[in-house]
C-alpha cells in the first residue's frame, strides 16, 4: 500500500517505468534446455518410427492374425512360421514365476521397513535394497544358470532342462523385489501418520494397522509398484537369454527351456540376419508387441500413482 503511494509520487509520469534489459544469458540457458527436451522427444519418436516401419512391412507379408494367434515360431526354417504365441507364453510363464516371488517378498519388505523397522534400520536397508536393483542383469543371469539350476534345482528335479523357465523366473523375481519393495515403501510412508495414530487410538496393533489401514490407504501406490515391477520383468532380457534358453516352446512347464519376446529379439538381433529379410523384420514386429504391452502397463502404473497422490493432497 504505502510503497505504491511513494512510487507514484516520486516517479511522476508512468512512462518512466524502465524496460527490462534483455537477459541474453537466460535465453541461452533456455535454448539449451529446450534442445535437451527436444532431443529426448525426438529420440522417442525416432524409436517408435523405426520399429513401426519394418513392422508394417512385416505385417504386409505375414497376416497379423497369423502372427498374434499362430502357435509355431520357426523364423529360421526354410518355410518359417511366425506365430508369436510361444514367445508370449514363455514371457508369461517366466514373468508369472517372478511375480509369485517378488510380490510377497517385496510387499513384506515394504511393510517391515515402513511400519516396523526403526528409523536407523530403514535408513540403512533402503539404500542397500536400491543397490541390489543396480546389479547388472547379466550377473543375475549367470547366477541363475550356474548356481540355481546346476547346483540347487537339479537336486530337486534331476531331469530339469539346463536352460529352464523356473530358474530364470525365480532370479528375475529376486531382481524386481527391490523395485517393488522400494516403491511400495514410498507409497506406505506417504500415508499420513495421523491415519496410523487414528488406528492405534482405536486399540489396534501394528500388524492390524499395517493390514487394515496403511496398505488399503496406499493400495494404488502399491499396485503401481507391482505393475512397474511386472513391466520390468516383461522387458528383462539378459536373465532369460542366459538362463531360460532360446527354444521357442509352447509349454507351461517351468522345468523346460523357453524363449521370451525379449530373448528372441536379443538372439536374432545379434545373429547375422540380412537386413530387409522377413526374419529381420520379425524382430521389429515382436519389438512392437513388447513396446505396446509395456507401454500399456506403465500407463496403468502412472495413472495409479497419480490417483494415489490426489487422495492425500
Amino acid at each position: 500500500m504505502s510503497s505504491t503511494l511513494v512510487g507514484s509520487s516520486v516517479a511522476g509520469d508512468p512512462g518512466s517505468l524502465q524496460r527490462t534489459k534483455p537477459r541474453y544469458g537466460e535465453k541461452v540457458i533456455k535454448g539449451i534446455l529446450v534442445m535437451a527436451a527436444g532431443v529426448s522427444v525426438l529420440t522417442t519418436f525416432g524409436i517408435v518410427l523405426s520399429i513401426l516401419i519394418p513392422s508394417i512391412e512385416f505385417f504386409s507379408e505375414v497376416p497379423i492374425q497369423d502372427f498374434l494367434f499362430g502357435t509355431e515360431w520357426t523364423p529360421l526354417f526354410a518355410d518359417g512360421e511366425f506365430g508369436v504365441v510361444p514367445l508370449v507364453t514363455g514371457t508369461l510363464v517366466i514373468t508369472g514365476i517372478a511375480i509369485v516371488i517378488a510380490i510377497p517378498f517385496g510387499l513384506g519388505a515394504a511393510v517391515y521397513l515402513s511400519e516396523f523397522a526403526s528409523p536407523r534400520v530403514r535408513k540403512t536397508v533402503k539404500p542397500t535394497l536400491e543397490v541390489l536393483a543396480g546389479i547388472p542383469t547379466v550377473v543375475f543371469g549367470f547366477f541363475a544358470l550356474e548356481f540355481l539350476t546346476q547346483v540347487v534345482l537339479v537336486k530337486i528335479w534331476p531331469d530339469i532342462d539346463i536352460f529352464n523357465a523356473l530358474s530364470a523366473g525365480l532370479i528375475m523375481g529376486v531382481m524386481i523385489i527391490p523395485t517393488i519393495a522400494s516403491l511400495s515403501e514410498d507409497a506406505m510412508s506417504a500415508v499420513p501418520s495421523g491415519m496410523r495414530d487414528g488406528s492405534y487410538a482405536l486399540g489396534s496393533s501394528k500388524r492390524q494397522t499395517a493390514m487394515f489401514v496403511v496398505i488399503p490407504a496406499a493400495l494404488s501406490g502399491i499396485v503401481a509398484a507391482f505393475v512397474l515391477g511386472i513391466s520390468r520383468a516383461i522387458g528383462e532380457t539378459m536373465i532369460v537369454t542366459i538362463a531360460a534358453g532360446l527354444q521357442p516352446n509352447l509349454s507351461f512347464n517351468p522345468l523346460e527351456g523357453m524363449q521370451t519376446m525379449t530373448s528372441y529379439i536379443a538372439a536374432a538381433g545379434s545373429g547375422d540376419l540380412s537386413t530387409g529379410s522377413i526374419e529381420y523384420k520379425s524382430i521389429f514386429a515382436v519389438g512392437l508387441l513388447l513396446f505396446i504391452i509395456t507401454f500399456f502397463m506403465n500407463t496403468i502404473s502412472i495413472g495409479l500413482v497419480r490417483k494415489f497422490r490426489q487422495v492425500y493432497q
Binding site: S118, P119, P192, G194, M195, D197, G198, S199, Y200, A201, L202, G203, S204, S205, Q208, T209, F212, V213, P216, A217, L219, V311
Partner: protein
Amino acid sequence: MSTAEFNTLTSLEGELMSQRETAEIEMAARDISVWFGKRKVLEGVNIDFPKRSVTALIGPSGCGKSTFIRTLNRLHELIPGAALAGQVLYEGSDIYSRDVDPVQIRLKVGMVFQKPNPFPSMTIRGNVLSGLKLSGMKRDNHDDIVEKTLRSAGLWNEVKDRLNAAAGDLSGGQQQRLVIARALAVQPHVLLMDEPCSALDPASTLKIEETIRELSKEMTIIIVTHNMQQAVRVSDSTAFFLAAENEPGHVVEQGATTEIFGNPQDQRTLDYVNGRFG
C-alpha cells in the same frame, strides 16, 4: 451403629461428594515428565480428571499440550525416541505398569485428533465400525451402533442416506464428527480431543461443542484448545500449560474454568487468557 446405618451414611456422603467438585477421579497424571531424545519437553505435570467432567488444556503453541494428551492413552510411546517419567492413573492404577496392555488402555481412552483422519479406503459406516473390527471386539446389532454413535456425534441426519459412501467425500467438519463417532463406537470411558475444531468453520465448531457437552454426561473428556471462548463454553476445569524459552513445559495454573478465566492467580495466566501473550 449397625452396618445398614453405616451403608446409608456412606452412600449419602458419596452423593454429597459427587455434588461437590471433588467427584470421583477417573484419570490422573502424576508428575509426568517427557523427553524427545535428550530434550525434555514436559516437566512434573499433575492433573486430576474427575469422572464425567470436561477439562480444557490451554497454552501457547509448542508448550507440550499434544505431547501431554498423548501420554494419556500411550500413543506417546509410539514415537521413536520418546521417553516418559511419572504415572498416569486410570481408575487408580498406573497405565504404564508392566502388566498393562496398551491396547486395553486405548479402548478405554479414545482419542480425536486435530486433523480429521477417517480411513479413506473405508465407507462412512465402515469407519464407524472400524474400531470394533480392528480391536476384534464382538458386538451385535452394528446398525444400532452406527446410528447411535453418529447421532451422538451430531452427524446422523447428514449421512443417514449414504452410509456406504466413501468417508473421503465428507466435508472436513463432517469428517471430524465421523471420527468422533468412530471413537465412540468402542464405548470409551474417557475421550481425548486434541484441538478437534481447529480446522473447522464456526457452525461445525458449535455442533461439536454441543456434542462434547452432551457426551460429558456419560464420559470424561479432556480437550486441548486454542480457542479461549471454547474452553469457557465447554469445560468444567482448565489447566494452563506454559514453556519458557528452552525450558520444558509445565502447568502454571489449574482449577475451575470460571476461576482460571475469571480470577486467575498467576499473572501469566491472566495475560494468556486475555490474549496478551507473545
